[in-house]
């Protein structure tokens, strides 16, 4: 009886949470009278967007947007997500606009409408401080690091043949800079103001070339959509340009010292200091990771048990259906599935859902497929004589399954469940790619601010280990408590 009440409670909680998740986007918009938009930005693109030491997003883009929204009376929800994913998600309708240091290029003009160009930029090449490379000609045969989907990457590709270098791709700037600084790749192409800011703030690179391919950054919406938002942006931008707000914002970030946003060197040089300074961010990241893991495994278990049972029912149709589901979702990389659900489906149906909901569906389908496979395996490994004995007493197939086969099968599955639980926890880190600020993404964001790669990743790794240890204990306790009766 206690067991049943417990299951009911979990189901109820789940229903409430899912319901809330599904309605958040629409709910927030309805609550306010001013027009509300969802606007994406990059996670790390200082000085245009970065998190300050309090975990708040700041930067030229962010401050411009804030100033314009105030003047033009609209509200917005800012969603930091990797540039490439954000740019695609605007086109799929997930977001209304992008403000992420996006260069206005002819190719992009085909699919986006841009507001007034707000910042002049050019592409430069940068190399490690101690590099012996003297000019682009020295890059021949060597590998260059590029950030996926950026204008700088497009420029680099346009001159790739001429200079004969190879390329590799990164999703966030800081990892890319470190790769060059460490000598894994010999150079990177980046927008000039971004590179200058990074170097000023301790990234061990130097600029190799003069700005090329000069252009402007623009505020973008999907072509033909959200025209009133573009109009508001343009009006607001003209106003802040005129009254000097714009210049103040730019001056605040260009030439700012590291400590202004990143915190002091003393703090950054000790693990304890980093932990203390970023305590709230880490806690929020852990919270998201645990929430994704626990809700994910519950959903995956429900999905997996249903599909697993369908896979062993003596019915060709249900068997074929379940096998196909398992085949598809076990075969797809988690990342591809996450992108497909978050970016692919909305561009087809026009129905948006939050990154969190997309992440949970991803986990449910992917982890659920693995669970289905071992549920089917576990049930199959129960001796067929058990089913026969139960049926010969007059029990129906489902009653026999529930009362005789499943209790035995589940015991065989417990170790696989514990294992899947741990895998799910680790897999949540992949969901950082669709912009969920869980623990891994928290690490990325903190590093983009303070460049303390080793210390921050060490902390993140320890946190994962601690969580996995605790969850393993919890799973074993639950097994003892619920598995044996």
């Amino acid at each position: 009886m206690f067991k049943k009440a417990w299951i009911k409670y979990v189901m109820l909680t789940l229903a409430v949470i899912l319901g809330t998740l599904a309605t958040t986007t629409t709910g927030a918009a309805a609550a306010t009278k001013e027009p509300h938009y969802v606007i994406t930005t990059d996670t790390t693109y200082p000085p245009f967007e970065l998190q300050d030491k309090n975990g708040q997003y700041v930067g030229i883009d962010i401050d411009i947007l804030k100033a314009i929204a105030k003047r033009e009376h609209f509200t917005y929800k800012l969603v930091p997500i990797s540039f490439n994913s954000g740019a695609q998600a605007v086109l799929s309708g997930q977001f209304d606009a992008i403000m992420a240091g996006m260069a206005i290029t002819p190719a992009r003009k085909l699919v986006y409408d841009f507001g007034t160009p707000y910042y002049k930029t050019g592409v430069i090449a940068a190399i490690a401080k101690n590099s012996k490379i003297k000019s682009l000609n020295d890059l021949r045969g060597k590998t260059v690091a590029l950030k996926t989907g950026t204008g700088a990457a497009a420029y680099a590709l346009s001159i790739q043949k001429q200079y004969g270098f190879k390329v590799t791709y990164f999703n966030d700037s800081n990892t890319m800079y470190n790769d060059v600084a460490l000598g894994n790749t010999v150079a990177t192409f980046e927008d000039e103001p971004v590179m200058k800011y990074a170097i000023q703030n301790g990234v061990k690179l130097k600029i190799l070339t003069k700005p090329a391919n000069s252009g402007y950054y623009g505020f973008g919406v999907k072509k033909g959509h959200n025209q009133e938002l573009i109009a508001k942006f343009n009006a607001g931008f003209a106003a802040i340009k005129k009254d000097g707000t714009y210049d103040k914002i730019v001056a605040k970030y260009i030439g700012a010292k590291e400590s202004t946003f990143a915190g002091s060197a003393a703090v950054n040089n000790s693990i304890w200091g980093l932990l203390k300074q970023n305590k709230n961010q880490f806690l929020a990241g852990i919270g998201q990771t645990l929430m994704l893991t626990i809700l994910g495994i519950i959903l995956a278990t429900i999905f997996g048990v249903i599909i697993g049972i369908l896979a062993i029912v003596p019915n060709k149709f249900s068997h074929g259906f379940a096998s196909t589901i398992i085949y598809i979702f076990r075969g797809l990389p988690l990342l591809v599935l996450a992108f497909f659900i978050y970016i692919g489906i909305p561009s087809l149906t026009g129905h948006k859902f939050s990154a969190l909901l997309a992440g949970l569906i991803t986990l449910m389908l992917n982890e659920g497929a693995y669970i289905a496979a071992f549920v089917a395996g576990g049930l199959k490994s129960v001796d067929n004589g058990q089913m026969e004995a139960a049926r010969s007493l007059g029990l129906s197939y489902w009653k026999a399954m529930r009362k005789v086969v499943m209790p035995q099968g589940i015991k065989l599955m417990v170790p696989s469940f514990v294992n899947q639980f741990i895998i799910t926890l680790k897999d949540t880190s992949i969901l950082s790619a669709i912009g969920i600020i869980e623990l891994t993404q928290t690490g990325t964001v903190i590093i983009s601010r303070n460049s303390q790669g080793f210390r921050v990743w060490f902390l993140v790794a320890m946190m994962y280990l601690i969580m996995i240890t605790l969850l393993t204990f919890l799973a074993k306790w639950a097994d003892k408590k619920f598995g044996n009766n």
Binding site: A389, A390, G394
Partner: protein
């Protein structure tokens, strides 16, 4: 006497392999029919078609006049009335002995939990295992397990009992205790169909002995007729081998 089981021209094939090649058999109320024959002769398969654990390929089976091969027949209802005992016991290892016995009557709404427990203890006493009610099946010997399996089948108050080589998986010293329970059942008037290699049991308890070979019933009659004066050459050969060890 009423006809409990009526089988007409029953065939069963696995792919190209036909294991039952036209079986006709009638069993009357209170009758004990023992089926003997070499391994692979089809006798176990035949027994398993009687409660449709095996799907017949052709022919008909009527239990108490109900046609098992008809689509509209509620198989679960028919099975409630046919107890089955397996060679490998097939006790439910996650349940206690008593729970094994009470599961079906409680789940099928025949008895309340209390009534089922009372009946269960009574049946366990009947098979000599009153003290094992709370044990788990893994704690029992083979003979004890099979006696629990018989009690489990009886808990549904069936009017027919099927036994599929109930003593073949037992150590020799445990065969007797299981046969004794079966003999008691027969004496109480239970209709029984038993597949076995225990010729002594067949001789003493059976009303009729049926000899299977190659998917056919080759010989059928009283134990005295079949054992002492078999007509079919296959039966003569088989009995010669098993009786004169």
């Amino acid at each position: 006497m009423a006809t409990k089981v009526k089988v007409t021209d029953l065939h069963k094939s696995y792919g190209d392999n036909e294991v039952l090649k036209g079986i006709n058999l009638e069993v009357q109320e209170n009758e004990v029919v023992v089926m003997i024959g070499p391994s692979g002769s089809g006798k176990s398969t035949f027994l398993r078609t009687l409660n449709k654990l095996e799907e017949p390929t052709a022919g008909s089976i009527a239990i108490d006049g109900i046609d098992l091969t008809a689509k509209e027949t509620n198989l679960n209802k028919v099975r409630e009335n046919i107890g089955m005992v397996f060679q490998h016991f097939n006790l439910f290892p996650h349940l206690t002995v008593l729970e094994n016995v009470t599961l079906a009557p409680v789940e099928l709404g025949k008895l309340t939990k209390d009534e089922a427990n009372e009946l269960g203890r009574q049946l366990l006493a009947q098979v000599g295992l009153a003290d094992k009610a709370d044990a788990k099946p893994t704690q029992l010997s083979g003979g004890q397990k099979q006696r629990v399996a018989i009690a489990r089948a009886l808990a549904m108050k069936p009017s027919i009992m099927l036994f599929d080589e109930p003593t073949s998986a037992l150590d020799p010293e445990m065969v007797g205790e299981v046969l004794k329970v079966m003999r008691d059942l027969a004496e109480d008037g239970m209709t029984m169909i038993v597949v076995t290699h225990e010729m002594g049991f067949a001789k003493q308890v059976a009303d009729r002995v049926v000899f299977f070979a190659d998917g056919y019933i080759r010989e059928e009659g009283t134990p005295d007729a079949v054992f002492n004066n078999p007509q079919d050459p296959r039966a003569q050969d088989f009995l010669n081998k098993v009786l004169n060890v």
